[in-house]
């Protein structure tokens, strides 16, 4: 019984550890890795360039897509409504344009393969040529 419990615990833990979101960029981007804060700055519209000063274009999923809520919660601790309210302050102040939004991850990945300045988030999966991972973000419920 105790062994079974242990097995379940291990399974649960490994499951939660595997639940990660991948932050991806185009393979031609010279950036090899980004820190958590740098990703926050990019997706919260605080900066508009990568640390190597190359222009950055964060791509987003459409509001209401489940991964979108999980990504922002894990990255910033904010709910989707908080993120939308925050972005509204930037967009309607005219400080930043809203990130381009896509209806699914396939479309996001395809865009990243074509755009050297793109940065996007997807669930862990095998990725095509043309994109590379710059951060693995643990999921926070």
């Amino acid at each position: 019984m105790r062994n079974l419990l242990l097995m379940f615990t291990v399974l649960l833990l490994s499951g939660s550890l595997r639940a990660e979101i991948l932050v991806i960029v185009n393979t031609t981007n010279s950036i090899t890795a980004l820190e958590h804060k740098q990703i926050v700055d990019l997706f919260m519209g605080r900066v508009s360039a990568f640390p190597n000063r190359q222009p950055a274009r964060p791509l987003d999923l459409k509001a209401g897509t489940p991964l979108r809520a999980v990504f922002y919660k894990s990255l910033t601790g904010k709910s989707e409504a908080q993120v939308d309210a925050y972005w509204a302050t930037l967009i309607f102040a005219g400080r930043m344009s809203p990130p381009e939004q896509f209806s699914n991850e396939t479309a996001l990945i395809e865009k990243v393969t074509k755009d050297p300045s793109a940065i996007a988030y997807v669930t862990r999966q095998s990725l095509p040529n043309g994109v590379k991972i710059v951060m693995e973000l643990p999921v926070r419920e």
Binding site: K37, R46, V47, S48, A49, R53, P55, A63, G64, T76, G77, K78, S79, E80, A81, Q82, D84, A85, Y86, A88, T89, I91, F92, A93, G94, R95, S97, P98, S117
Partner: protein, 420 residues
């Protein structure tokens, strides 16, 4: 100078859009918008509630108003390259003077030679207060509207000119320094549901610094306004003509001058938000050489907590004049017809100078429900205590009757905020 500044934004946008078809072809467009449908209820029978001093209508006893808070905003942003962007924002709402020119909230071109440095040219938000640049976007704020004791005076929505923003990274913190300069104007209604207004044209110059660090945000702004319009001329002429019989009248004349006179704002703001609890407060000291713009200080503080898709908050604030009431005493022993005339002019002068005073405080509670994606419903209940000597954030329903007693008003607001 003012003439040029007020007219070039639309011109500039037009030139850019139409003169160069290849630029147009490379352009990426973004359309977005916001809307609020709001209803305000007020139980005071003498004073109508208004969101700010630019409105000439609002809620009073047995007359709820949708005009205080309802609006629709549409925005276009065009992106040529990482360096060049343009934006136009139109807002439709119940305005005192509803023209297309007044409905253009923003129309500017932004140049960003390097990340962290922006220059904007055109019509843009006057970044004087914490909510200045998004004060019409209900969804972006926790309350039904920007706090009344503070934002009720804030009539500066936009200006035509230039601003420059530079970002500095200080370890984990980010400091933004912005300088702005331009021209603006507003026509203020002189009473309830009237078409009559007082037109002000002014130049604006300011500096804003804001510091973001983890959950904290601090900001300081200094802005100086120089009035270009000449208001109060009739009263000044009348007083001037009476100095033989009423030597003291001359003392009131400088207060009634506006042209080339200045007023300034010194503002501090503070925000803390750890995603569960939040706290926000602002204080502004308005110093004025213009008698028709009241010297005063304004403050609000608000705290809230988020529970799932619900938010609960409390808020409170005050507005306090920092100058004495103007009292003109007419000399005794004058012939009756002259004395009557003098009394009329004295009363008109006092009304002009004391009528702009704002003295009130308020406290309230509210809730926000994010019931669907990009939609929020809010309910807010506030109690206002308005001093009889400072009712200018409100409109007297009967313009012929003075307010002789301190007033109370319970204001209930229900708003639906949407982003699209």
């Amino acid at each position: 100078m003012s003439f040029i500044l007020r007219r070039y934004p639309t011109l500039l946008i037009c030139i850019l859009m139409f003169s160069s078809p290849h630029v147009w072809a490379e352009l990426e467009h973004r359309f977005s918008g916001f809307a609020t449908f709001g209803l305000a209820f007020n139980d005071n029978p003498l004073l109508a509630f208004r969101r700010d001093v630019t409105q000439n209508d609002g809620a009073y006893k047995d007359n709820a108003s949708w005009k205080n808070d309802s609006l629709v905003g549409l925005q276009w942003q065009g992106h040529w390259s990482p360096e060049w962007e343009a934006a136009v924002q139109l807002v439709a709402k119940d305005r005192f003077k509803n023209t297309l020119e007044n409905s253009i909230e923003w129309a500017f071109i932004r140049y960003r030679p390097v990340d962290g440095f922006d220059v904007r040219l055109g019509r843009m938000g006057a970044d004087v207060f914490m909510l200045s640049e998004y004060r019409q976007v209900g969804y972006a704020m926790p309350w039904a509207r920007p706090p009344h004791d503070y934002y009720g005076i804030a009539s500066l929505y936009n200006f035509d000119g230039i601003d420059m923003n530079k970002r500095f990274v200080l370890g984990d913190a980010m400091l933004n320094v912005k300088a702005f300069f331009g021209n603006s104007g507003e026509e203020y209604p002189v009473g309830f549901q009237t078409e009559l207004g007082t037109k002000f044209d002014f130049d604006l110059l300011g500096l804003t610094t804001s510091l973001d660090w983890n959950y904290w945000k601090l900001r300081y702004t200094y802005a100086q306004v120089t009035v270009n319009s000449d208001q109060g001329r009739e009263l000044r002429t009348a007083l001037q003509q009476l100095t033989n019989v009423w030597p003291a009248a001359v003392e009131a004349i400088p207060d009634l001058q506006t042209r080339n006179k200045k007023f300034d704002y010194s503002q501090v703001g503070f925000n803390y938000d750890n995603n569960t609890w939040w706290l926000q407060s602002e204080f502004v000291r308005l110093r004025s050489d213009v008698g028709l713009v009241s010297d005063g200080e304004h403050f609000y503080a608000s705290a809230g907590r988020r529970v799932g898709n619900l938010g609960f908050y409390v808020l409170g604030g005050y507005a306090e004049p920092q100058s004495e009431m103007v009292n003109l005493s007419v000399p005794m022993g004058l012939p009756a017809p002259l004395a009557a005339q003098l009394n009329l002019i004295a009363a008109a002068t006092e009304r002009s100078l004391n009528g702009v005073r704002i003295k009130q405080h308020s406290y309230g509670v509210g809730t926000r429900w994010d019931f669907a994606s990009k939609m929020a419903l809010k309910f807010q209940l506030e109690q206002f205590e308005i001093d009889k000597t400072g009712t200018n954030l409100w409109l007297r329903i009967d313009n012929t009757t003075e307010i002789t007693e301190n007033q109370q008003a319970t204001v209930v607001s229900v708003t639906l905020d949407v982003l699209f």
